[in-house]
Symmetry: C2
Subunit: 178 residues, 2 copies
Amino acid sequence: MHNSLTAVSNSTVAGLGRLARFFGFSDVMGRLYGTLLLSPDPLSLDDLADGLEISKGSVSMNMRALERWGMAKEVWMRGERKKYYAAESDLWQVIRNVLGSREQREVQVALQVLSESVEKLKEAEAELTPEEQELSRYYLDRVVDLQAFFKVAQMALETVVGSGESLDFDAVTRIEIE
Amino acid sequence: MHNSLTAVSNSTVAGLGRLARFFGFSDVMGRLYGTLLLSPDPLSLDDLADGLEISKGSVSMNMRALERWGMAKEVWMRGERKKYYAAESDLWQVIRNVLGSREQREVQVALQVLSESVEKLKEAEAELTPEEQELSRYYLDRVVDLQAFFKVAQMALETVVGSGESLDFDAVTRIEIE
DNA sequence: CTCTACTTTCAAAATGTTTTGAACGCAGGG
DNA sequence: CCCTGCGTTCAAAACATTTTGAAAGTAGAG
């Protein structure tokens, strides 16, 4: 294959590996995704293992993870006994999958814990010494700050996750500032 | 100290540790930040090491990282030889620091690599066999998709980073969808 | 300048994560 | 059925990160 095609493929695959790590996935997941994205045809586990020079076991596990995250789909090739995979090539769909399941859950949990903290502090107030009450009010202030922060995050996520095919460039620049 | 205060402190500190890991920082950084955030007064390295039951060496290194990220500040206590730290309590400032230095650089690099890929593919076009040309066009499509994606990310980051004191809740809900 | 109370550094140890490959399981063809 | 060609699993090995603590560095008080 021509030099330049190989070079582009390598840097794209490597870049997606990097991006995957950045998002808390494994490097291999990103590279598998990249390899599939740049392949006009679906690839088998062996194709992927050979292409990335990693073990088949690793490909198997990581491909299942990619499937769970909605980043790749199994493709049935008639007359073939092998499994074939293709990348989900709508990047916005991928982002919505990830933000929708993982990040939203994180934020949800955080908000949950923070509400419980507010509860606890309010309930306990009566039993506190004056000194403790002062600290309790301090905690309450900080916890409320965190709540405000996570609520904005939650709204931002909902906006992205709930959006249609893709976000409009111009629209994003129209986020207004206080 | 009262039970409930300890419980709230623990869960908040643990939660910020989790969040830190989520953002690609170390757990300890998050817990140090949390401890400082919940302390009405600045804390010394020893206070922090004792409070979190980790070594002073670790506290020293992680606090310097927190400082570099603009998440904590050194506070001079007169008549004291120890170093004291306080959390940067404006969470929006913290987010802007992180997005501004780290995430923006990532996106920048990605866009750079993608432009180079487009260049390479266009330059090489003439030398390609017909079959390679087809693959090249396929690559170009995928690379352009990625570019579009990162450009939106770049704009979103610029919006947050360039914003003033804090983002308005309502405003975030007004991001428009294509 | 020296002493002392601190902070920083860093190499070794502990811990955590990823990768591998051999063993196993399973389905379809003969 | 059994055989074959695949996919999956999982324990052990390789690798990476984090933590520790002891040694070295540093700054201020006297």
